[in-house]
Amino acid sequence: MSSKQPSTALTSRQRLAVVVVAAAVVGAVLAPSVYAATNDPDDTVAVVEIEGPVNTALAEDVESELADIRANDSVGAVVLKIDTPGGAPVASERMYKAVQRTSEQMTVIASVQSISASGGYYAMAPADEIYVLPTSTVGSIGLNAPAPRSTAPVYGPSGPDKAGSNEIQRWAEQQTLADTFVDAMMAEREEEFQMPREEVAKADVYLGTEAVENGFADEIGSLNEAIHAAATEENLGEYRVDTRETGPDGGLPFLLRTDTQVVAVHANDPGYADVKPMGLTYVHLPAVPHVDTVERFSESDLKVDGGEAATGATGNETAQSTGGVGA
């Protein structure tokens, strides 16, 4: 009887078909992972953005990113994408040290966008090479500070320097601060600079075309060319680019200057608490707008048809801010 019944055993061809189908299903599941594993290069060029005024928040982010990069074996080279007029001295020094340490470990190339001046230049100086665009601005190696002046005595503090100061001692402090900056730049790029220290200390800025001639920069090139150069220097072959944004989530403060000092403004419609004076700065002053040039837009100033105040933003009448932002 059993020999008369149709056999339930698979023929060898059927077994083969089942195996092929099963393999195809498993293969289809695994294929994306296998593709990604083979297609994704191990080597990475990290692009660290340093943009906006140099301040503590930016410096902390840059330090953190560069520390992470140094600990990450898959990152073979770093490009600093820089666009800053400078800012606070200590923040500049923190980035300088972080870039210096990273540069000891792997190729670091700075790629200047529109400007890398003063504290921005300080931060990128330890890079192996500085790329600029023909009309980028670099330089401004020096301290921006108001002239120390003697002030009337303050009564109450526990010592003469607690709330007051001596004019000459303040001059000396400012000179020390400036020398610290200039000396560091001479240590980093003395061989590149085609000028003596005294000329560097004049704190001039140079366009990219001039900077590659006088040693303030090394190559004319875009960000992509800087990335390619960094990868080539490290023999990365196939590589991917990992862009790392820095700076606080809430947006960087913007800088304004008054007649006597630079202020950091932390809000679009700032109150006094949002405006922080910055007495001593590594900042290229012409790149910082003067407070009198900032126009302030407010709802009540916006009028339609020259009539009543409207809530729409179609008006074009603006009020000159003479005492508003940062004053």
């Binding site: 002046r149 000459i168 000396a172 001479m186």
Partner: protein, 358 residues
């Protein structure tokens, strides 16, 4: 039993393989940062990294033994009813004038040597225009004050025509004048050329700086004596510090007393300059800086000696007027004409109408 042993061995081997593999994998793929060697930045710690911040000391002394003279000071403050022209001036910012303390080293030297000092500040109650008809009509209030003075020190350059006439008359009659200006006077004090023309001196736009050798800032330049006709003004002075100085000159040429040291440059040309920063033309001294007189700056380099010499210069003249009797020529003066002295007895001396503001 052998089955149990086999199973136990298999369990242990498998567990060891898995945990061991995990440990090796974790070690190999470790993502932490190894301790990095310290990077030495010698430029931060070398001996020259910190600027010398010792303020220094000043000893301003006069050699002159001249009789009591009256020195009128115009601090350049345009006081209107006691309120400074600019609110910033109250904070000591943006004011073109000098505060009382800024001229104390010079003033104290004069006071200690028995000389009188008056301060001229045109105010709302005493307008700068001509006084009443009884005083002659054309005479300005400044003219009145100058008529009672032997020397005039001014930090202002924007005088009107009548005042310039009074100053010219004062100089012609033997009065000594020191004009201390600033590089920025050309920006905020229109009319400086009028005073320059009256006194036959010149000022050059721009400021002098020195990147190679300076006193704690590129604008605080050292100046050295030229060794020329102004030797009396530079006695004991090897170097003076002039913060923010502008070049000055005399109409006739010569008369250079102090010039910037080698390596100094002019802001407008960015080229080296030897143009003098302090000149003397007979009874007029023009100096392209006013900050060097302050207590802090008097203690820098040989500024104290320079200030003492300027005090001697001020009291070495004295107006020669028909109504005044001759006075002994000052020992350190080099004015050839016998000098008169119109100074009234100090008891009747008109007190300053306004004191300088801080």
């Amino acid at each position: 039993m052998s089955d149990i042993r086999t199973l136990a061995v298999a369990f242990v081997v498998t567990l060891a393989a898995i945990t061991g593999g995990a440990a090796v994998t974790g070690f190999v793929t470790a993502d932490g940062a190894a301790p990095a060697p310290e990077i030495q930045n010698e430029h931060y710690v070398d001996g020259d990294a910190v600027a010398n911040d010792t303020p220094g000391r000043a000893t301003v002394e006069m050699e002159s033994t001249a009789r009591s003279q009256t020195v009128l000071v115009d601090p350049g403050i345009d006081s209107s009813g006691g309120v400074a022209a600019s609110p910033l001036a109250l904070l000591g910012l943006g004011s073109p004038g000098v505060a009382d303390r800024d001229i104390r080293p010079l003033a104290n030297a004069l006071i200690e040597n028995g000389h009188e000092i008056g301060v001229y500040v045109p105010g709302a109650t005493q307008p700068r225009r001509a006084a009443g008809p009884g005083s002659g009509g054309a005479e300005t209030r400044l003219g009145e004050r100058l008529a009672d003075a032997d020397a005039f020190v001014t930090f202002r350059t924007d005088y009107d025509e009548a005042e310039l006439s009074a100053i010219e008359e004062f100089v012609d009659s033997g009065g000594r004048v020191i004009v201390a200006t600033e590089p920025d006077a050309a920006f905020d004090q229109p009319g400086a050329v009028g005073l320059d023309s009256t006194l036959e001196v010149t000022t050059e736009p721009g400021y002098v700086y020195n990147m190679e050798e300076n006193d704690l800032n590129y604008q605080r330049v050292y100046a050295e004596p030229t060794g020329g006709s102004g030797a009396a003004l530079t006695e004991g002075v090897d170097r003076a510090v002039l913060p923010s100085a502008t070049p000055v000159g005399t109409a006739t040429g010569g008369g250079d007393v102090l010039r910037p040291i080698e390596g100094s440059e002019l802001s407008t040309t960015r080229a080296s300059t030897e143009a003098p920063l302090l000149v003397r033309s007979d009874g007029v001294v023009m100096v392209g800086d006013s900050d060097f007189l302050s207590p802090e700056n008097a203690a820098r380099a040989d500024n104290d000696a320079l200030i003492g010499n300027l005090a001697d210069f001020l009291v070495a003249g004295g107006q020669a007027t028909p109504t005044a009797g001759p006075t002994p020529t000052a020992p350190s003066g080099n004015q050839t004409a016998p000098s008169g002295n119109q100074t009234a007895p100090s008891g009747s001396q008109e007190p300053p109408e306004n004191q300088t503001t801080g």
